[in-house]
């Protein structure tokens, strides 16, 4: 400690760094019941730590694929506003920017992808409104009004707590933060700025508390008795025994928990490399074409972080170029498909953590947390697991067929 700004994207004052680290520590302390000696929040306390970037996963939503067919998953993910707030649950959110072509037709122009943490932006907004406006300006290419960020003409007279609430209302949502919920902040922002754009992640389960939880949850010496031996537990064993089967049905959570658990089982500690954050791995841009040529490199603009720590990708032609997003083709297997939304791009991306793995004492006999073996594999396609997705699919179908015009969730 202390951790720098995520991705080292911002040069912060010592005061802001301290506030951000307060958020991290407070969040970890709220999860103290999951803490074992196989997790260490302070990287300085890890013994001979080695950096690992193996904990990564595809950015496209996995859970809906068990419930509906792939075209429907794609349609759900790309459903304006609703897709982002309902199925983009892999610590990676996107928004499609539309523009009118020469014929006046509204078409997708670019996709904005973000893995930035709501808690970080909220922290900066609380303590330094000017800084958060500068961050937004850097992302948007224009300086937003205060109203767009805080819903008020000037946030400076507000207390930090009032700014947090105002910012949550306008661009952040409540992030499952009980104080914000009690203050009436909705789950999703009411202002357009972080809906029309992907400024940072807003889904309540794409938060700092969630990935701290899954890392800490995985950092346990779980085992399953097998005769006179103790074998390594499977994901099914762990999620079934701990009654968190839902964790097994997306890409991110099982990858994170089992990555941390592998370390614990080997008698190693897991921690976070500085800075804590969710990072986008650079994809193979050779699968994207404009005409017969690879897309120009400047059509994939990574940002909000140093190399290997990008938290933002803006993908598509610039405003002054005649091309639109759907003029780009993405080559998948034997097919070349027009790029029509964010889902296809998310499928090409990997998102992940940067972990540190340190040495520690071996697991003592008394430390094992023995689990019952899972009686059956976890099914992700049950009616219960799929209820939300299938209902969304029905609503989408109804909207698309004009039978209904539901606009909100």
């Amino acid at each position: 400690m202390p951790y720098g700004s995520p991705g080292h994207a911002d040069e912060l004052s010592e005061e802001l760094i301290a506030r951000w680290n307060d958020v991290i520590v407070t969040t970890a302390e709220s999860l103290a019941s999951f803490k074992t000696r196989f997790f260490e929040l302070d990287p300085a306390k890890l013994r001979d730590p080695e950096l690992s970037d193996a904990v990564k996963w595809p950015g496209d939503p996995a859970a809906p694929t068990f419930c509906v067919d792939e075209p429907t998953v794609r349609a759900l993910c790309d459903w304006p506003e609703i897709g982002r707030r309902s199925v983009q649950l892999e610590y990676c959110e996107c928004a499609v920017i539309n523009a009118r072509d020469a014929g006046g037709r509204l078409r997708p122009k670019r996709v904005e992808v973000t893995t930035e943490l709501r808690e970080y932006w909220s922290c900066i907004a609380m303590h330094d409104p000017d800084r958060v406006r500068a961050m937004a300006a850097d992302v948007l290419g224009r300086e937003p009004d205060w109203e767009e960020l805080f819903g008020v003409a000037d946030p400076h007279p507000l207390s930090p707590e009032q700014r947090e609430i105002a910012f949550g209302h306008t661009v952040g949502g409540h992030g499952n933060n009980q104080r914000l919920i009690d203050a009436g902040v909705p789950a999703q922002p009411t202002g357009r700025l972080n809906i029309d754009h992907a400024l940072f992640m807003t889904h309540p389960i794409n938060g700092l508390d969630d990935f701290l939880y899954v890392v800490m949850f995985g950092s346990h010496p779980y085992g399953v008795r097998a005769g006179s031996q103790i074998r390594q537990a499977t994901g099914d064993d762990i999620y079934t025994a701990k009654e968190v089967k839902h964790l097994s049905c997306n890409h991110a959570d099982p990858t994170i928990t089992l990555g941390a658990y592998d370390n614990a089982f080997a008698g190693r500690q897991t921690g976070f490399a500085d800075p804590i954050g969710m990072y986008i791995r650079v994809p193979n841009l050779d699968v994207f074409f404009y005409g017969d040529d690879p897309i120009p490199p400047e059509w994939a603009r990574f940002g909000r972080g140093r190399a290997s720590m990008y938290q933002r990708l803006v993908f598509g032609p610039p405003d002054d170029h005649e091309a639109f997003l759907d003029d780009i083709t993405v080559s998948v297997g034997a097919s070349d498909q027009p790029l029509t939304g964010g889902y296809q791009l998310l499928r090409e991306l990997e998102v992940g953590l940067r972990l540190l793995v340190g040495h520690t004492d071996p697991i003592a006999e008394s430390e094992w947390e023995l689990l019952e073996p899972a009686p059956a594999p976890i099914a992700c396609d049950t009616d219960d697991a799929c209820a939300t997705v299938r209902e969304l699919a029905r609503r989408l179908e109804a909207e698309q067929s004009g039978r209904s015009a539901l606009r909100t969730l």
């Binding site: 990564k56 996963w57 193979n284 050779d286 998948v332 297997g333 097919s335």
Partner: protein, 407 residues
Amino acid sequence: MTLQEGIYHAPGKRPGRFFALLFLRAAPGVTAPQVADALAGLWQMYGGLKAGQVRDLDGVVLPHDEDALTVLLGFGRNAFELSGTALPRPRGLGDEYLFRSADPSGGGLLLRGSGLRYGADVRANMATEAFCVQAIAETKLATDRVVVETWKALADHVNPELGAAPLQLTTFYLGFQRNDHRSWIDFHDGLSNLRSADREDVIAIAAGADQAWAVGGTYLAFLRLAVDLPGWRRLSRRDQELAVGRDKLSGCPIVEVDGERLVTDPGCPVAGTQIWESPNDAPFAEPPQTDDTLVRRSHVQRANHHQRPASDSGSRRIFRQGYEFLEWSAGAPGFSAGLNFVSFQDTPERLLRMLTAGGWLGGTNFGGDEEHLPELAGLLSVYGAGVYFMPPVTEGERFPGAAALGG
């Protein structure tokens, strides 16, 4: 519903030493039920071969105990173009899960975003037919016999309405296993294949992941990869080891580059043992994570990013079951040597993304310093590529997947 035989994923099971992969084309105008009848006949014939019975030797039982013949039937995309098909095409046979065709003039990319290309003399990919049959056995005769007996059975099954057999044997590829755990480039191969505990999760299609009737089945991906051995042998041992990511002699994974020295774990392998033997298999067979950028470019590091859980297609883990080949070829060196790459997975997406994704094998032919070593950029050439759905065994069916053909 269970996986068919011929996928040697169970602990302690080793595939037989010989391999044949046959490709069957449906005749123009043939219907799915007509094809089903032909396949039922083939399936019955294969059962007979396992019991030592051959079509033209009525009443004779040939030696067969040592054969340990297994036969695996696969459906290609074209099978679901037949009229009368009764079940929907499995998702993994959609265009986005298949390999690209070779250029009509020869060559061409296997996949956009991959560094694998068809051989310059490949004008048509012969591994994309309606059906494939994999035969594995402990004797070469047993796999060779599958080829000949398949031809016999199809030749004898002329449909009077069509005036032709519903299915034709268009091509086949043969292969063999090596007992030295190495490949033609002399390095160890197949060491970091999946742990037994993870295999079924990777191979078998889970409920909800595909068409309902496909659950319990799997996908076979096949690549006939020829190796440019003259080019490979022009490389120094160091360049070869950096390309593979293992020590050439011991097979131990390279963990870092220290100047000119390629560093392996000093404990690998345990004295008096080979890399593939216990106790090396657990700690050393799978290359460890490394920060070393040179090592990360190697083949073994690109192909396996150690992601968990293996059951998630995002881990891009696959179950490999490859066989070497050697055949005569015009021009130097007078033969073609290579690998019949075979993998099984619950979705072909695992393999396709492994071959195209950044940081994985995307943009590379094999691995290593391809930018400066043209021998590596052209090391492998594709001579056949296909993706097939292998239906599960369902009780009461005449052959796996019979219901899909209305038969």
